[in-house]
């Protein structure tokens, strides 16, 4: 089994109301010095068998098609070593 992690983040020019809510809550709780917060999504895909370039390409396809909306989001794909 191998784990592939897909991180999805809003593009920098897209407003992130959830991240702003978190950023405003932090100083109220005494966590100072945090200039900005952007909130994203993390997907952990458990693969059967080995990770190959071909399967990573498939996962990039899935990230582009379903896991992210390329109109407003960017994504990264990486293999997590056990």
């Amino acid at each position: 089994m191998a784990r592939v992690v897909v991180d999805v983040m809003l593009k920098p020019e897209i407003l992130d109301p959830q991240g702003q809510a978190v950023a405003q809550a932090l100083p109220r709780l005494g966590f100072d010095g945090i200039a900005d917060v952007r909130q994203g999504k993390r997907f952990e895909l458990e693969l059967e068998g080995e990770v190959t370039e071909e399967r990573l390409a498939q996962i990039r396809g899935a990230a582009e098609t379903l896991l992210s909306n390329p109109v407003i989001e960017d994504f990264t794909v990486r293999v997590e070593q056990p």
């Binding site: 809003l10 593009k11 407003l15 109301p17 959830q18 809510a21 909306n69 109109v71 407003i72």
Partner: protein, 223 residues
Amino acid sequence: MKVGVVSFPGSLDDRDAARAVRIAGHESVALWHGDDDLHGVDAVVLPGGFSYGDYLRCGAIARFAPVMTSVIDGAKEGLPVLGICNGFQILCESHLLPGALIRNDHRKFVCRDQELVVENNKTRWTSAYQIGQRIVVPLKNGEGGFVADDYTLDRLDAEGRVVVRYVGDNPNGSYRGVAGVTNERGNVVGLMPHPEHAVEELTGPTTDGLGFFTSLLESVMSA
């Protein structure tokens, strides 16, 4: 005309949309998300609600429902398609319309009667209106902020593809106050406000929304 209204798991406004279709003088046909047969309809409405629980992103799962394969193919051939609220989100996720809808900038659900200005009456769904006409229809959404990059927004403005724009305070942080847009061909229209809730004096703030549904007939007769 036969106008199909799609029900997804989590659709809320499919019955109101079907009712609006009938009040406008059409026959409404119930379409099911799991059935890719459009049953010979002349137009399709994607109604409001929370299809698939809004999981992942609003409209992201619904966009891959079997019925959407036929809707997307049809739309590319010129089939009139109207997406209201969640239906607008589905059309953006399908890339039939540009941009995307994100959480309201003030992070609260908004529910109010909303004034809009009609900026394009050349679409299949807005020919019953005058350009510049002000209408009032209900608006109710948590994720209704229309966003797109500047290039796309400039292009929409230059090509007159903003169909309706919010008047007064921006209710949800939509870029440039965009409430609804159309595709290049003018057969696909999506908007966050709910014209189907403003078709009868008894239940709506106005009957201003009816024009979206009567436009279908006018545009056929003038074609």
